[in-house]
Symmetry: C2
Subunit: 405 residues, 2 copies
């Protein structure tokens, strides 16, 4: 008898009709003889109205009280889902993060899980119940309610799968799985049967919004097999995220991703002396700016240029931080460009195959797409190009690496 | 340094503006050097939208899951109120019923308090914080969330006042206190400075909606002094509910109450044999029908009539239950009257003063108001009259007992 953890995100529980659909999916899994644990997020509109209420009261609400407030969203979902299961004759019980002993540190709004008791869930499963757990939330040692920040319910699901030694963690979302690239850009994009944790991590950091990196890291660390699948088409097999691909020889490239939400900042003519980059990026980090690519080329006569990308939302703040840090150091100036896109190819196969970069650059240049920045990892090559050419670049690379085959 | 428990009901926290007002009231009490504990209900519209959601899913939702769902309402209020206090510079912390250890039995939706830990609150008060506690909710021995049913937040407030040995429990509401009668009916109704627990209990059961009987019983049992006062006019002194009146000699009558929400049912020609009334009222009780007055007069030639009143909402169900029970017993029939009102005079003084009933009946008859049923207790006389004459009866009795003096 397998233990299956199912996670349903905001779009899968956005209203009563969707909740009833979720109940049917869980019930179907139980009818196959499995023990089912469901993790749910808040209904989308609940979260928004709670945030609105807090904003009406305070521009900088206490993080502890925000956790107290926001955690009610998942609590509403679990109660309603339990009722929906009862109404189709399935024995079910809901638990808050506190009630199942999801112990975290005390970093409100971005808490990290320390331990999960798990026993209350196993007891309820043994009693024949479907167990519903509130995602995104836990409790610290002083019984304060904590929440996990972005992708929090995925983290709850993977952590529960670990604690319960579940056979699989099904992440239900609004797409059928992980694709070779965005099907809205490339109509013949193919759904992948499997993908490795490392590839998925790269895709997540490159802009694929299906799962948050944190939960994938968690799954990789504890070897939890994750299936990304659709709550709208539950009969369709999804994509399995696991340590190894199914094939003896992995394909060279697994997918193409694009991210249009970044801007580029260049700091020009920086004196090439130790510690300058450290100062700059420490200052950006202390403002919670998430710097993505960083490029520094070889120094030209004692001065160099440093370029980096940041989320578009953080551009203004990043520019002022950069100027403040750089001007006393005698840099020539700071420039920026909002009209960029990052396009990446990802695949563990490229570790053992030379020529991936050459193929990529050649395909782009044949279409007249100019490369502005390049960054590589063992299993990924990213380029920054003109925003207007992003979709074309994705199509070109998808074809060049024969991902539609 | 006094400990003050303040309770704010749904109308006092119905929106963000009212919440900010509540924060100011609590802050003012703290500025006087008091330790302040606040109990809040759910914002009115929150409760309604949660109930709506549950009804969209199930016609008979699980009581445990209803408690899981409904308890989020108060949790939202406490978090927002903490933020509102922070935003005016007051150190404050919110707690759920679970977090402060409000231990109850496991009767979901009508749980009774077994014990309150209190230590988390005392610790926070000692640390200089205003403490905000979610009303209406607790937790049973198995960590299930429970709620208290009608008047639940009042019960939380009184129970906390008991556990913390508070100096007073202020129940903030939308009226200035307890009046000799409804000021909407009698314009010169007077606000009472004090009222005894027993009188308040009678008034509550007679239709005064200010506090629920259960919380008054609790206050009486533990001698908690309660002040009913207005969150809209916090500068006005309210009415103190306590064991004894302030005067050596209590006035004879303290107040006049009317209830227009009941219907009368009469079962005619019941055989006067043991157990018939028991069968009838057991059947009504098992349908959760709250029977109020019951009158059975002396038997006339082996058959008697039994009359009783029930809430108007329960009339239909009560009639069908009565007919089902009575017809096999050979009763002549069941009649009903929706156009009735119950008017009552209340006062501990009547224990030692004869003639109250006579004064009451005389005053009514002088105005041509016919009495249909009479019921008395040690400190109360109630009559059932024609609905159309209810307000006039209240005015007549208010004047007859000189309550405006």
């Amino acid at each position: 008898m397998a233990i299956i953890v199912q996670k349903f995100g905001g779009s899968s529980v956005k209203d009563v009709e969707r909740l009833k659909k979720v109940a049917l999916i869980a019930s179907g899994e139980r009818d196959k003889g499995n023990k089912v644990v469901i993790v749910v997020s808040a209904m989308g509109k609940t979260t928004n109205s709670l945030i609105k209420l807090s904003q009406d009261i305070s521009t900088s609400p206490s993080q502890r009280e925000m956790d107290m407030l926001m955690s009610t969203g998942e609590q509403v979902s679990i109660a309603l889902l339990a009722m929906a299961l009862h109404s189709i004759g399935v024995d079910a019980i809901s638990f808050t993060g506190s009630q199942v002993g999801i112990l975290t540190d005390n970093s409100h709004m971005k808490a990290r899980i320390i331990d999960i008791d798990g026993q209350p869930i196993l007891d309820a499963l043994d009693a024949g119940k479907v167990v519903i757990v509130a995602g995104f939330q836990g409790i610290d040692e002083s019984y304060n309610i904590t929440t996990f920040g972005r992708g929090g319910s995925d983290t709850t699901a993977v952590a529960l799968a670990t604690a319960l030694k579940a056979d699989i963690c099904d992440i239900y979302t609004d797409v059928n799985g992980i694709y070779t690239t965005d099907p809205r850009i490339v109509s013949n994009a193919k759904k992948l049967d499997t993908i490795t944790y490392d590839e998925m991590l790269e895709l997540a950091s490159l802009g694929a919004k299906v799962m948050h990196s944190r939960s994938i890291e968690f799954a990789k660390k504890y070897g939890v097999v994750v299936q990304v699948r659709s709550s709208f088409n539950p009969e369709v097999k999804g994509t399995f995220i696991q340590e190894k691909g199914d094939n003896m020889e992995d394909p060279i490239i697994r997918g193409v991703a694009s991210n249009k939400n970044e801007s580029k900042i260049s700091v020009l003519g920086v004196t090439d002396s130790p510690g300058i980059a450290a100062k700059l990026f420490s200052a950006l980090a202390s403002e919670n700016i998430n710097v993505d690519m960083i490029i520094q080329n070889i120094s030209d006569q004692g001065a160099t240029d440093i370029s980096f990308t940041v989320p578009k939302d953080d551009l203004k703040k990043s520019l002022s931080v950069s100027e403040e840090i750089i001007s006393p150091l005698g840099a020539k100036g700071v420039t920026f460009d909002e009209n960029i896109a990052k396009v990446s190819v990802v695949g563990v196969g490229m570790k053992s195959h030379s020529g991936v970069a050459a193929t990529m650059f050649k395909a782009l240049s044949e279409k007249g797409i100019n490369i502005d920045m390049i960054s590589t990892s063992e299993i990924k090559i990213s380029v920054v190009i003109d925003l207007a050419q992003a979709d074309e670049a994705v199509r070109v690379l998808h074809a060049a690496f024969e991902l539609d085959k």
